[in-house]
């Protein structure tokens, strides 16, 4: 989706949502949260290698937004009906929980978080490093099979295996939660990263699947190595 299309779609969606979505439900009563997960190391996959984004196979953000809107509208309709049955009325508004800006915000966040075109994954027996272009790397250690848990003033993280899938969860301030699930398909030639963004202001999470395919980087016969005193030192590889 181009940014111009996205802006147009956002305007239309804002109008529609602001009239149709109920905002009478408090966010705390339906805040979306990831499901509990039990680490399972039984069937680890090997994600090692270089991966490039395959846009054709990946989710279309507009389609995903449509689905989310339909789900929320259906939910709103059911709640409104219940309230009418009990003699209550439907509250209409454009701010607060499930507001259009919050839903669009989730979609934009998912787009921002999954913007990396290239990945390099280095996987060893006890840890994995997922280097993402223009972003920080996802890292996980799984020495004892138990999920790794880290916490700082900026948020908490957990990661680990869920059978053949590798799961990363980040719990950030202000009710923002991000989950990445890595899984391998097509005989190891395709990598799917399902990124889900949760907000305690929207009752449904927003999920975006990004599909990556393997590629061999063209090094042009150059091999580079990071050093402290000389920076990145590159040498020609013997052919």
């Amino acid at each position: 989706m181009t940014s111009r299309n996205f802006r147009f779609y956002r305007v239309v969606l804002t109008v529609v949502l602001s009239w149709l979505l109920p905002v009478c439900v408090s966010s705390s009563s339906f805040a979306a949260k990831p499901a509990p997960w039990v680490a399972d190391n039984s069937a680890r996959a090997d994600f090692s290698g270089f991966w490039e984004l395959n846009l054709g196979k990946s989710d279309n953000i507009q389609a995903r937004l449509d689905i989310l809107v339909r789900e929320l509208m259906e939910r709103a309709r059911r709640q409104a009906k219940g309230r009418q049955d009990r003699g209550g009325g439907m509250t209409i508004g454009g701010a607060g929980p499930n507001s259009a800006p919050s839903i669009i915000g989730l979609a934009k966040m998912a787009d921002l978080i999954t913007a990396s075109q290239l990945l390099e994954i280095i996987q060893k027996e006890n840890d994995i490093l997922v280097k993402r272009e223009n972003s920080f790397a996802l890292t996980c250690e799984f020495y004892k099979g138990a999920p790794q848990f880290q916490e700082s003033v900026f948020g908490a993280e957990t990661c680990g295996w869920d059978s053949h899938q590798l799961l990363f969860r980040m719990f950030l301030p202000d009710g923002l939660t991000i989950q990445h699930i890595l899984s391998l398909g097509s005989a190891g030639y395709r990598l799917n990263i399902a990124t889900t963004v949760y907000s305690d202001k929207v009752s449904y999470p927003f999920t975006l699947n990004r599909v990556y395919t393997r590629y061999e980087p063209d090094r042009g016969g150059i091999r580079c190595e990071m050093t402290l005193t000389r920076g990145n030192v590159c040498t020609t590889e013997a052919r």
Binding site: Y143, V197, S199
Partner: protein, 386 residues
């Protein structure tokens, strides 16, 4: 005099167990760091000590790498860097001890040797560009513990001047030089509490323990081992004892080997000094930046309505930047290893000595010397000399 010494030892190491005799307990990890040593001036003896010389051996440090590899990243321990530091830091301590003029020969030794006049062991508790914490023990040949305490030094910006050569021209300009000076001062102060006769006695006990290792049947009667593991001198062999002369000669040959090895440690130090200096400098700058960033982030007012894109983006970007900061250090560690690892291998390869193989080489050399001694005294040839 001995009692006075013990009182001083106890005073000097309030957090340790100085003056204790007996088998060496394993050094435990220090969970609470002592107060930093601050600015320390090295106390130098008026002139180089001539007599009695008490030689001092610094055993290659214990790198202090936790066995549980899953804790390394959380503790900020980079095992490869720690392994190299364990060989690098003793050279800096050696320099401070030599400069103090308090000792005879000061050597960096690859393996623990209980027959050394005074041996210093240390475990690296923490090491980065900001803080260095070492747990240091010094034990004499008789088994008396001179020192058993932790030392902590914290750097300030002045400890990392911009240097044209990339590293301090002199070892004494090390960013943590105050820590080594403090150790040297403490050991020097303890030494002043021993009389000339007591120091000579320590030397003799060391020599006789060495002799007993070579020929227990000939020399064990000269020493008495107390129930707590300490050694007392019963009597001395005659000054012209031919067996004792052989022992001296064998020991000198062993020292020759150690001195050759010691040069390799200095080579290693000089080769890796610029890289290691940069690593610690970057580490310090990064730690300061991160602490400052965390403070600013924690005090920042929330921006935008909760749940709005602008608020979520800001939250995410703050998290992202903190992650990038953490991962920069990992990259630096990788850069350090890429430069230092070949050097270590090269040094090791040159003499087949400097890493793990050095211990084996040293042990083998001692076995050869023992065999030579046996051949000379009993006429029996061992397979090692075939």
């Amino acid at each position: 005099m001995r009692k006075l010494s013990l009182c001083l030892l106890l005073f000097l190491a309030a957090c340790g167990s100085n003056g204790q005799k007996g088998p060496e307990p394993a050094i435990e990890a220090v969970s609470v760091w002592p107060v930093p040593v601050g600015v320390v001036t090295l106390n130098k003896a008026e002139s180089a000590v001539v007599s009695p010389r008490l030689d001092l051996g610094i055993i290659v440090f214990d790198p202090g790498i936790p066995k549980d590899a899953s804790t390394h990243s959380k503790l900020g321990v980079f095992p490869k860097i720690r392994d190299v530091e364990a060989q690098y830091l003793p050279v800096v301590l050696r320099d401070a001890l030599v400069a103090s003029n308090n000792w005879g020969v000061v050597r960096v030794v690859p393996k623990n040797d209980e027959t050394l006049g005074l041996r210093v062991t240390a475990k690296i508790i923490h090491s980065d560009g900001e803080d260095l914490v070492l747990h240091v023990r010094a034990i004499d040949a008789g088994g008396l513990v001179w020192l058993d305490r932790s030392y902590h030094d914290r750097t300030n910006p002045g400890d990392f001047p911009a240097l044209a050569g990339g590293a301090p021209a002199q070892i004494s300009d090390d960013p943590f030089a105050d820590l080594y000076r403090q150790i040297a001062n403490d050991l020097g102060l303890i030494k002043t509490q021993f009389s000339v006769a007591e120091l000579a006695n320590i030397r003799n006990v060391g020599l006789l323990r060495y002799a007993t290792n070579l020929s227990p049947e000939a020399f064990s009667g000269f020493l008495f081992r107390e129930s707590d593991g300490a050694y007392e001198l019963r009597r001395l062999p005659a000054a012209d004892d031919p067996m004792m002369r052989r022992v001296q000669r064998i020991r000198n040959q062993e020292y020759l080997f150690i001195d050759t090895v010691d040069e390799q440690y200095v080579d290693l130090y000089e080769t890796m000094a610029p890289t290691y200096y940069l690593w610690r400098q970057y580490g310090r700058e990064r730690a300061i930046f991160k602490a400052d960033y965390e403070l600013r982030a924690a005090n920042r007012e929330s921006y935008g309505r909760r749940g709005s894109y602008i608020a979520m983006e800001r939250t995410y970007n703050t998290f992202k930047n903190s992650k990038i900061q953490d991962q920069d250090l990992q990259e630096l560690a990788g850069g350090f290893n890429n430069e230092v690892a070949p050097t270590v291998m090269e040094v090791s390869g040159r003499v087949f000595r400097l890493s793990g193989a050095l211990n084996a080489q040293y042990t083998e050399w001692r076995e050869i010397l023992r065999s030579i001694f046996s051949l000379e005294t009993t006429g029996k040839k061992t397979p090692l000399l075939d």
